[in-house]
Each structure stands twice: as C-alpha cells, then as structure tokens.
Amino acid sequence: MPSITKPLIPLAPLAKNELGLTIRDYEGAMSTLCAGCGHDSITAAITHAFWELSTPPHRIAKLSGIGCSSKTPTYFVRGAHGFNSAHGRMPPIATGAYAANRELTYIGISGDGDSLSIGLGHMSHAIRRNVKMLYVIENNGVYGLTKGQLSASADIGTRPKKGEANEVAPIDPIMLGLSLGATFLARSFSGDKEQLIPILKAAVAHNGLALIDVISPCVTFNDHEGSTKSYRFMREHEVKEVVTDFVPLRREIHANIPTDGTRVVPMHDGSIVRFRSVPEDYDPHNRSNVEEYIREHQAHGEVVTGLLYVDESAATPHQMGHTPARALAKVPLRELCPGADALAALQEDFR
C-alpha cells in the first residue's frame, strides 16, 4: 500500500513478474490522501494489475485532472510517464497523446467532480471516440479537496456531512456510457480488490475506452450515516452477481475455460474475459438488457458491480483514421514534408 511507509529491506523476498520486477517497482510516491481513503485502495489495485500484467512501467502513460482522485497517479508506477493536467481536461489531453503515440498503455484517473461535472463533455466525447485507454472514475460523491460539497454523482436523499439532503438527480456514468456507445463499462468498489484487479486487467486489454466507475468512500466527508457512497452502504447494498475473471493471453491460454454456459469474451489482444456466476438473463453485449438489469437493482437501492458491458468490435480513432501501427510521433519529419518540387507543382493550382 503506498499510503504506509515500507521497510527498506522486505521481510520476505518479493515475487517477480515476467519482467523480473516486483510489486515495489510498480508503486509510486507516498500517498498524501487521508488515512483510509478509498482512492488508496484503488491505487493498490492498479499497482497490482500492471504488475501482474507485466506491463513495462515506461510504456505506461498515466494522466489525470484535478481533485483527490487526480492526485493518485503520483502514487503508482513511478517509472510511468505522468501528466496531472487541469480540472476536467484529462480526456482531451489523453486523446491527443494517444493520437500521437498509440504504442503506449494509457490510464486516466478521474473523479466524479472531474468527469461528471466540469469535464462531463470531455468524458462523453472520449467515450464516443472510443479512445483506447483505461478510464477510472474514483467516485466518492463529494468534492474532497474543497471540503465536502456534494458532487453530481450524489444520490437523491444522500446527506452531506453538513447541510440538507440532496434533491438533484445524480449522473450515473455507467448509464451515460450505455447511451453514448461506450464499449467497456464496469463498476466496482474500492473495498473489493479481488473484483477490481481482474476488471482493470481486462480494461487494459480492451480495444477502446474502458470506463470503470469505482465507488470509493471519502472517509473524511462522505462516510457517515445517510451517505450512499460510504463503506457501510456499499457493503450492505452491493450486488455482485456479475463476476468476472481475466485470463491473459500468455499465461493461461491453457486454462480451463468453462463450457457450462458461462460467457467467455475474447479480447482484441487474444486474452479472455470470463464471466462467472452471471444471472441467466444477463447479456453483457446487450445495452438495453444491461440497462434494464442495473435499473431494476437501483430501484431496490442496490448497486450492481462487475464488468457490466463489453463490445470488442468497435473501432478506435486510429483504426478509423487508418494510421500506421507505429506512433505518428515517430514518423521522421522529413518523411512528412512533401518537399520543394511538390510545393512548386501544387502551386500550379493557384494561378
């Protein structure tokens, strides 16, 4: 956990991944968030996911906006290239970086203020474009850095620490994503690393924008009675009927893929997402089915978690733009310049 100081010499030898790196190599700076913050658990899950996937740290670009959540990229994968941008503006900056260099793994960390208020338009359009990136919303229902104002994800009836209960309809990023044509939608809970890590790994493999809404209680401003984003509320109301495993391409290609009606979704890179204990009437490829399922549970005050929707068939901006496999940033400028003869020739049209 990056929120606690580690001993200089580990007590037991740490396990190594395929690159010979330990989990420590995927950690970052010490967290400066409040002790017990849900975000630190998400940071730990991200750290684990990248370590387990053996993603080379320097091939990761981590971006964020502004807010408590957006501070966290400092706390994982210190060897990754980081960009802490402006409030709500992470999606377009990630879009530009991805456009310039498609070879890297992009992870954007955002919060409910960052993505559902000031940057709602940007998030929506990044989803529409299907920018290949992992997009994590660390959703706590409040503005933490400015001391506890309710955010756009606060449920009706939820009470801030001080003040009246919320009467304004919340924005649900999963429902929004379904209507925007999102290609990968998941919801999880920061207190459930076992569920979150496979989802994060599947998201990295996804060919497009993978949106993960992680309910992440704010221990300081939104963990009290009356909050619907508290640890207690989530433990009591989470419905984990959609359970998923991630089977990476290389390591477990021989793994026993069940044939007993369990859904298996092959990802673009050849890895596999396996849905376990999915309700019989649940189809993660069917938008209206997914929406109906979530709504039914919401009506009962329940929060459905898991990998809820996936579509591997949609094209990314690079596929739509027919760009080369190598990064556009790596094409030598001389190759991009048509030269003097072409300039002379094309000016015949300007006579």
Binding site: R78, A80, S85, G96, A97, Y98, A100, H122, L328
Partner: protein, 614 residues
C-alpha cells in the same frame, strides 16, 4: 517644406488603376463570378486584390466584393469605387451613393430603376441580365446563377479584360461538366456582346496586360497556413469549427489526403493506404487545445486553428502549456469581437489576449503574418519556435488574410530545412545520465531538455500544472516557485531574436514613423507613398513577432513621433509596445480602424494629416 493637408483621395482612375465594387445577395452564386474577374486580371499580369465583405449568413443577405486593380501594386482596400455592379435591389441606395463622382453603375435593367436613385454625376449602365437569362436558359437555378456570369461578361467588355483568359478559366473550372461549361460560356458572351453593342467600351479606366504576376500565385491565408503546417510536419490536430478559421483545417485535411497517404503492400498483395495524420474534431476549443497539448507532450507536432472566441476558451490550457512547458501551435484567424461580435468581419483585436493568455503571470510568443505568403512561412516558424522554447506560439492571422485571395510571390521551400525540435533527450542519452530532471540543466535560451512518453524509466517524469520546483517536483515554497517562473520570463525574452524580425524601412529626412502589423501592411505602405508625395517623409516599421527585439524600441526613440496603425479599438499593439519596451505611450499616436472591413490607405493618410494639423 509645405505639406498638403487636404483629405486624401486616390488617384483619378485610369488604365490599371481603378476599383470595382460588386453588390450581391449572398447564396446566389455571385462569389464565383466575382473571383473569376479577379483571377482573370491576375492572369493578365496585373496586380489586383479581391475583398469579400460577406454576412454571417448562408442565403439572402447583402454581400459585397471589391476588386482593386493597381499597376503600382497598391492593392489595399480602395474605399472609393469607380464602378458599382449593383445586383442587390435592397442595397441600391447605399451602393449607388458610394460611387465616386464621374463613376459608373452597372445594374439589371430588366426592371426600371427607381427615379429617386438617379444621380446626375454618374453614368448608369443598364444590362437586362434577368431577361437575357430567362430567354436563354430553362432551369430556374440556372437562370439565377447565369446572371452572375452575364454581368461578368459585361465587365469583361467594359474593362477590357481578356475574353480568352476568362473563357479559359471557365473551361478549367468546369472541365468535368460539359453542360455547365457551355452554359457559362454562353452567359459570358451574352453579357459581353450586350456591353459591346450598347456601351462605349472600354470605360475610361480598364485593364491592360502587364507582366507583374508571372512569379506570383493567388492564394488565401488559410490555405497557405494549412500548407505551412503540412510542411512543418504536423501530424495530430485538434480543432473545433469556427468562422473564419475553418478553412485552415478543411485545407489541412485535403492536403493530408493528398500528401500524407502512404501506400502499403499488404500480405495479400493488395495495396492499402496508411495516413500519417490524425485529425480530431473536438467537442469544443478547450478539448481542441487539450488534444494539441497531449500530442505535443507525446512528441508529435500538433496545432489547432481557431478565432477569438476559441482563444477565450483555450485560455485555461494555454496557461497549463506555458507553465508545464509544452509546445503548442495556435492559429488565430482573428475576427471582430468581443463575444460573438461580427464573425465574418476582420479585426486585429486578439493581440493582448494572445500575448498574455491565461491567468497568472504568462507571456506568449506571437507571430504576425501580413499576407498568405507569410502565413505559410510563419506557420513553419511557429512549430520550430514552439519546440525550441517548449511553449505555446501563436500565428495571428485575420479574416482579411485568411479568407481573401491575395496575389503573393510563389512559395518556396528550402530542401535543406532542418526542423528545430528543441532540446530532447533520447534513450541513448538517458543511459549515460545519472539522473534526469525535466526542468533542470537549462540551455542558453533557458530551456531544459525534455523526454517523450515511452522513454526509458529514467526519463519518466510527472507533468503538473501545480507549483513545481526546478526539478519538476511539487512545491509550495516561495523561492522554489519563483525560481521556475523567473526562468520562464527569461525564456520568453530569449525568444526575441528568433521570432520573425520587424521590417524597417527608413526615408531620408523622416521625423515621423508609421508602425503597424499584419494585414494593415499594404494600406500603410500605400499611405506612406501618398504622404511622401504630399511632402511628408515617414519611416516604416512592421512588427512581425513578439517578444520585441531592441530595434522596435530604438525605432520609436529615433523619431519625433510615431503612429501605430492597427485594427482594434484600444490600440493593443501600442499598449504592447509601450509596456514591453518601456517607450512612452505619448510618443505614439494610435490610428485605429475597427469597424470590421479591411484598412484603406485613405484612413491612414487622413488620420496622420489631421494629427499634424493640430
């Protein structure tokens, strides 16, 4: 020496020295007929300009086109019209009133002209354009469109424009559409023959072939800007549609489809194409500049094009780029502000907005092209400047430059061009380094080397718009913060000798200086010649970049008085010069034209004359 202080007027019209104004209704197809006239005169080797004064509307509102022909090369906006082609009954009154005494009005005589509109001192040339087209064409749309070509035909006869040149242009334009080609040729002859039979052709002013444009092209600034971005190697762009900048991206896309598609032989023997570009039409201008920052951070050359309202929205991220030192090229095709203002009218009112864009202490590098040729050249310069100094750089074009066709010397390209990527550290260099810090080890221009994402772990760093020290680490300590922003100020100052140098022209005995920028150039030069003829020698300085080199201050200090001529209400260039060079504001008088139409020499001459009278 006595000065002639009467209000300015241009010379009496004559051969290769006159101005025509065409009053039309927008959406009726007049634009192509009008530019056809201008292009024909250009092909006859005669210096010419065409200014499209159009409404922010698709169909039905008044629109004007002005053609100025001047063998001396003075092709700024005329303001005095020797011939009015009055094709819009809704604006007859003002159009007829704007013709000079002794001038001509060509109108559609299919309907009688209101006797109220008559003027004793101008000659009315009635051509029954509508009747002619109804008699000769069947399709309703054609009857409307061909009226334009018919009046063009009349102009060809009246102004002695080479009919063969015009026919050839029509043949080229409609090379793939025989029907339209024939209709156009027929309409052209209808107007031409009518004028020859009914009027004394040519008029006292007309066109006579010269050899002044053989090495020139006819191009608008937006196309030239797009060409510059193509040549500079831009691959990723983010943009949002806005008048008058949209054509920059339309052209960039068109050029990329022609020059950036690389054939690739597939395994199946089929040839496919790969595009060495990715254009992202963003959700707004905030996202557009965000895309540029992301792409530039990742090592691509990237730009956006917009106009004033877009710059307003981009302010936030321009500050981020400035403070985190990310290159960005921003094309601002200025239009009339504030707010929505007049989207199809020109102005130079974003100078201060761009110079100091975003909150906090910021200062940016600006370039000021005066014509499409400079748009091409400065666009390339902007990419080099942005990467050399790792900061946003603006190309401040305007609607007049961007959307009008200009006669400019042919564009040239130096095959030995080496792009200036600024200091960048490769993985090989990283291997030999003990440690890398993003903002440490500044060079002589106060710029520190960067790595690109994807570089070895050792080159990984964290960009933050929050307070950071010289190593890039988060800080809230006053001295560490100041150390960084002080270096940014030194870095900006260091750019002065790298931006396009000012054009300075001295005249024997001059005590007065004319300072200007951008599209004012042609009008100010012409004004300077007129003033010289009247006995007032003026020195001339056109700034082409910001920060200013010392010559700007020295120029102002070397003269008794300077005039700063610009197209905005508040004298923004004058303010910028005064605050950034330290010269006294009182040593400079503003001459301002900001109604939205291109500047005319008359305005400048009258203002200088009026000031000297006092």
């Amino acid at each position: 020496m006595s000065l002639d202080l009467t209000p300015a007027t241009l010379h009496a019209p004559g051969v290769n020295d006159f101005a025509v104004k065409l009053a039309n209704v927008n959406g009726t197809g007049s634009a192509s007929a009008n530019s056809l006239m201008m292009q024909a005169i250009f092909r006859m080797g005669v210096p010419v300009s065409g200014k499209n004064l159009f409404p922010s509307n698709i169909q039905g509102l008044p629109t004007w086109y002005e053609i100025r022909v001047n063998g001396q090369g003075h092709t700024a906006r005329a303001l005095e019209y020797d011939l009015m082609v009055a094709m819009n009954a809704a604006t007859y009154r003002e159009d007829i009133a704007s013709v000079v005494r002794g001038g001509y009005v060509l109108y559609d005589s299919s309907w009688p002209l209101d006797p109220d509109l008559d003027r004793e001192d101008v000659t009315f040339l009635g051509v029954p354009l509508a009747s002619m087209c109804i008699e000769n064409f069947v399709a309703p749309r054609e009857r409307i469109l061909m009226k334009n070509i018919a009046y063009a035909g009349a102009l060809v006869a009246l102004l002695n424009i080479d009919l063969d040149v015009v026919s050839q242009l029509l043949a080229e334009t409609f090379a793939r559409n025989e029907h339209l080609r024939e209709s156009n040729q027929k309409a052209l002859r209808l107007g031409y023959d009518y004028a020859l039979e009914n009027f004394s052709c040519p008029l006292p002013f007309s066109v006579s072939a010269m050899n002044e444009t053989a090495e020139s092209i006819l191009i608008d600034g937006n196309t030239a800007t797009a060409l510059g971005c193509l040549y500079a190697g831009a691959t990723v762009v983010g943009w949002y549609p806005i008048t008058p900048a949209t054509a920059v991206m339309d052209n960039f896309q068109r050029l990329c489809q022609k020059y950036r598609r690389v054939p690739v032989l597939g395994e199946d023997g089929e040839t496919t194409y790969e595009n060495n570009f990715l254009i992202i039409q963003a959700e707004d201008e905030i996202a557009a500049i965000g895309v540029v920052l992301g792409a530039s951070w990742a090592g691509a050359r990237s730009f956006t094009s917009t106009s004033g309202p877009g710059i307003s929205l981009m302010n936030e991220l321009l500050g981020l780029a400035y403070y985190t030192e990310i290159p960005a090229v921003v094309v601002d095709v200025q239009r009339t502000g504030p707010s929505t203002g007049m989207p199809t009218r020109t102005q130079q009112a974003d100078i201060l907005l761009c110079a100091y864009a975003s909150h906090g202490d910021t200062k940016h590098i600006l370039t000021f092209p005066a014509n499409p040729r400079e748009c091409f050249e400065f666009a390339v310069t902007c990419f080099d400047l942005a990467e050399h100094f790792q900061t946003p750089v603006f190309l401040l074009s305007d609607l007049d430059i961007g959307m009008n066709d200009w006669v400019v010397p042919k564009l040239t390209w130096d095959e030995d061009w080496v792009p200036d990527r600024g200091p960048v550290i490769s993985d090989e260099q990283l291997a030999g380094m003990k440690e890398f810090f993003r903002y440490a080890n500044e060079n002589a221009d106060h710029v520190a080397a960067r790595t690109f994402p994807g570089s070895d772990d050792k080159g990984a760093y964290f960009i933050r718009g929050s307070g950071h020290d010289q190593f890039g680490r988060y800080t809230e300590k006053p001295d560490e913060y100041q150390q960084v922003v002080d270096r940014l100020a030194r870095k900006h100052a260091a750019a002065a000798p790298y931006v396009p140098a000012p054009i300075i022209e001295r005249r024997e005995g001059a005590t007065v200086g004319l300072i200007t920028l951008g599209s004012c150039d042609a009008a100010v030069r012409e004004a300077r010649d007129i003033l010289a003829e009247r006995g007032l020698a003026c020195d001339f300085l056109r700034v082409r970049g910001f920060p200013f080199v010392a010559q700007v201050r020295e120029f102002v200090e070397s003269l008794e008085h300077c005039f700063v001529i610009e197209q905005n209400r508040d004298g923004q260039l004058r303010t910028l010069i005064a605050s950034e060079t330290g010269v006294g504001r009182e040593s400079m008088t503003s001459i301002l034209a900001y109604g939205g139409f291109p500047l005319s020499a008359i305005t400048v001459v009258d203002a200088v004359t009026e000031h000297l009278e006092i």
